[in-house]
């Protein structure tokens, strides 16, 4: 590993392979720690934003400050908002060639395998490093067809009309305390516009990397898939392992218009000192299909419930959620489906794994509004607990204001996989090998939904999580 990473061993998280970090000495700009009007104003000024955005940020800060911390979900008692850097800019600007990205940062992305993946099977890439996107690319033919794939700051400058039409309309700052926080200090994130009828064959990938200690990363993503268009967006996230905490609080807003299809895949693998508190919501219009594939492997605490609002008849929503909680981890993950129109359908499949004292919770909501008749919803949650120190809970909420609907909910009894382990070990498999096999099998129905490259990556990450940490 990097010579820069002694912390890895100090905090006993030696299994995490992305725990290295680069020096921050040559950063373009570092805000002081803490959050107030001055910091928010400074961020807006650095970005040379229009007045409306500055005012939006300041108002959001007030909303953030006025809201209490959530009383449910995970333990955030040690999260100190004053001990966080809210804006860290590593480089002057975004580059279009990896050769122009500063060497240590480029090396970091090399180790994460991004340039290699880009060459092989991606339509475009955004690489965010702390607060700003440092590299971006989009295949030329897609640009010619009118596809926009930029960082969100550039979208505000270069496409102000479409930006303002949608920004914050799906998740307003008042939605929740962390949406307000993101609205006040947002920086970076992806902006995607897919014009009507355009199909993007290969995934667009964003990679979010936290580098600094006590960093707060607040990317803001806005995606519009126009009528009859389709795309697949994939995000990956990692961070160095530090003994103090970092905060990642993103807002992701998506609109899928009539007949469009969009899949948003997350492979979240933050180090175990990151609070990951994210609000993600999509609106799907007539006959559109929106899918979240949400893999949560890392972080100290994740609270994330990707939502789909089914706005017009024929809209479909699907969420596949995989959560893996290891030592000192709490994954509070799930999904929300809101049926606002008749003849809409949704499906939630959740698989969670807990081991070495980890805790995973499924928290989900299926809501059918008055008048949304002939809706269908199917929810399946399975939990696998690998040892008796670990925990799993299920919080399924169903709110139905309409008679004529079909809602199904199945939750498999969480069980300790002891008998499965013994069975495999009695055939000569080591405990680690047997655990990895059980876990890989458990999530197989979800992993096979992923494009091959990501399926391989997901299985590799799960194996790494399992390796050397058992028995």
């Amino acid at each position: 590993m990097s010579t820069d990473a002694p912390e890895t061993d100090e905090v006993g998280l030696g299994d995490y392979q992305f725990g290295f970090h680069d020096s921050t000495d040559d950063y373009e700009f570092k805000s002081r720690k803490g959050l107030d009007r001055e910091i928010v104003g400074q961020i807006s000024e650095m970005k040379k934003e229009p007045a409306w955005m500055r005012d939006f940020r300041l108002k959001s800060l007030e909303t953030f400050e006025s809201r209490p911390m959530p009383s449910w979900g995970g333990d955030m008692s040690e999260l100190d908002f004053n001990d966080i850097y809210y804006y860290m800019k590593a480089t002057k600007g975004q580059e279009r060639s990896w050769d122009d990205v500063p060497e240590d940062i480029r090396k970091t992305y090399d180790r994460l395998g991004i340039p290699e993946a880009e060459k092989k099977f991606l339509s475009g890439v955004k690489a965010q490093y702390d607060s700003e996107v440092v590299y971006g690319s989009l295949k030329e033919d897609l640009a010619k067809e009118g596809v926009l794939f930029t960082d969100t700051d550039s979208a505000l400058r270069e496409h102000p009309e479409i930006f303002r039409e949608y920004f914050s309309t799906i998740i307003p700052p008042e939605d929740n305390k962390f949406a307000a926080l993101n609205s006040a200090v947002w920086s970076g994130g992806s902006f995607i516009y897919v014009p009507p009828g355009v199909h993007i064959e290969f995934p667009l990938q964003a990679y979010f990397r936290i580098n600094s200690e006590n960093m707060g990363q607040f990317e803001r993503t806005l995606i519009i898939v126009d009528e009859g268009a389709s795309a697949h967006y994939v995000e990956g996230c990692t961070a160095p392992t530090y003994s103090s905490d970092s905060l990642h609080s993103a807002v992701v807003e998506i609109v899928v218009k009539r007949g469009g299809r969009f899949r948003y895949t997350t492979i979240q693998n933050w180090s175990n000192n990151v609070y990951n508190l994210v609000t993600k919501r999509a609106m799907a219009y007539g006959d559109a299909l929106m899918e979240w594939v949400d893999g949560n492997l890392g972080s100290r605490l994740t609270m994330k419930y990707p939502a789909i609002y089914l706005m017009e008849p024929g809209a479909r929503g699907e969420t596949l959620s995989i959560a893996f909680a290891g030592e000192h981890q709490h994954q509070d993950a799930g999904a929300k489906m809101v049926h606002c129109a008749p003849n809409t359908s949704s499906r939630i499949i959740s698989k969670s794994i807990s081991k070495d004292g980890g805790r995973s919770s499924y928290r989900g909501l299926v809501k059918v509004e008055d008048g949304a008749h002939h809706c269908k919803s199917n929810v399946v949650c399975d939990a696998l607990i690998l040892d008796s120190d670990s925990k799993s809970d299920t919080y399924p909420y169903i709110e139905v204001e309409e008679q004529d609907v079909a809602i199904e909910h199945e939750a498999s009894v969480s069980k300790i996989a002891e008998e499965q382990l013994f069975y495999l070990m009695s055939r000569g498999l080591s405990e680690a090998e047997a655990s990895a096999m059980i876990v890989t099998g458990f999530i197989e129905p979800l992993v096979k939904e992923l494009p091959m490259e990501y399926a391989v990556e997901m299985n590799r990450l799960i194996e790494l999580q399992m390796e050397g940490s058992v028995g």
Binding site: E418, E419, Q420, F422, Y423, L424, M425, S426, R427, G428, L429, S430, E431, A432, E433, A434, A436, M437, I438, T440, G441, F442, I443, E444, P445, E467
Partner: protein, 270 residues
């Protein structure tokens, strides 16, 4: 020299309740032993304890293979030394393909020093071998691609156990009621399968309530378990007698063990 499995004064507890109270037995490669006894006598407990189930605590006594004490070894280490248990209730493992699982198992058993992540047995060689064994057991090759025991019928599960045994060539195989819950055709397939596999290189301990398996695989030794002890040992005629006449006379001859057994049955019923 044939290998020897030696069980000496074995005491086993489950959740702090003593079940086995001093079991002695010696099984050599090439021998077939039958283990019989009423419900609650401790037959399955002996099977799990031999295979190394972590919930079956060995509180006294020892298990040895060729003089090597394996009492403290984990299940996978015992398997690599040649121990095999055909489960009474084979475990379902969703998402894990039969072929993938057996390939890992074979790689570990044939190369006992293999570390996880190291090379597996060659795919071509493995495929050829498993196909041949499946044909012998009258199994559809399609099963190799299915998830382990997932959606299998009772007979299919038991056949899967015999297939694993055929692939792993254990020195000592314990069959825990492999014939229970099967129709007569399935019992025949399993019985013939075992008869084909057993030979001079395998010591077999058959736990059974039925006679069919023993007809195809006549035991040289029959042990009767009662109240967590082996109370009598005889030859095939003893097995035959117990099938015909039940355990009443055994209980009469061993009243203390019979009383312990009655207690265990009561507890199990609660």
């Amino acid at each position: 020299m044939s290998s020897l499995l030696k069980i000496t004064d074995l005491h086993v507890s489950v959740a702090d309740t003593p079940i086995l109270k001093g079991v002695n037995m010696e099984i050599r490669q090439g021998e077939i032993h039958a283990l019989m006894g009423p419900n609650g006598s401790g037959k399955s407990t002996l099977a799990y304890a031999l295979a190394g189930h972590p919930n079956y605590a060995i509180t006294a006594g020892s298990i040895e293979i060729d003089g090597v004490n394996i009492t403290e070894l984990a299940a996978n280490e015992r398997a690599r030394l040649g121990m095999f248990l055909a489960f009474q209730y084979p475990v379902v493992i969703p998402g894990v393909k039969v072929a993938d699982f057996i390939r890992h198992a074979v790689s570990n058993i044939r190369n006992p020093d293999r570390k996880e992540g190291e090379g597996l047995i060659g795919m071509r060689e493995f495929r050829k071998e498993i196909k041949a064994r499946m044909e012998e057991l009258g199994m559809d090759i399609e099963f190799a691609r299915r998830y382990l025991n997932d959606g299998f019928s009772g007979g299919e599960k038991k056949r899967m156990e015999i297939l694993q045994m055929a692939m792993l060539h254990p020195k000592f195989a314990i069959l825990d009621e492999t014939d229970s819950g099967l129709d007569s055709d399935a019992v025949r397939v399993v019985s013939e399968g075992l008869a084909k596999l057993s030979g001079p290189d395998m010591g077999v301990l058959i736990i059974t309530h039925h006679e069919r398996l023993l007809e195809f695989n006549p035991p040289q030794f029959t042990h009767v378990m009662l109240g967590g002890r082996i109370v009598e040992t005889g030859d095939a005629a003893l097995a035959h007698d117990l099938h015909a006449n039940g355990y009443a006379t055994v209980r009469e001859r061993h009243p203390d063990a019979a009383a312990d057994n009655a207690k265990a049955e009561e507890t199990a019923a609660v």
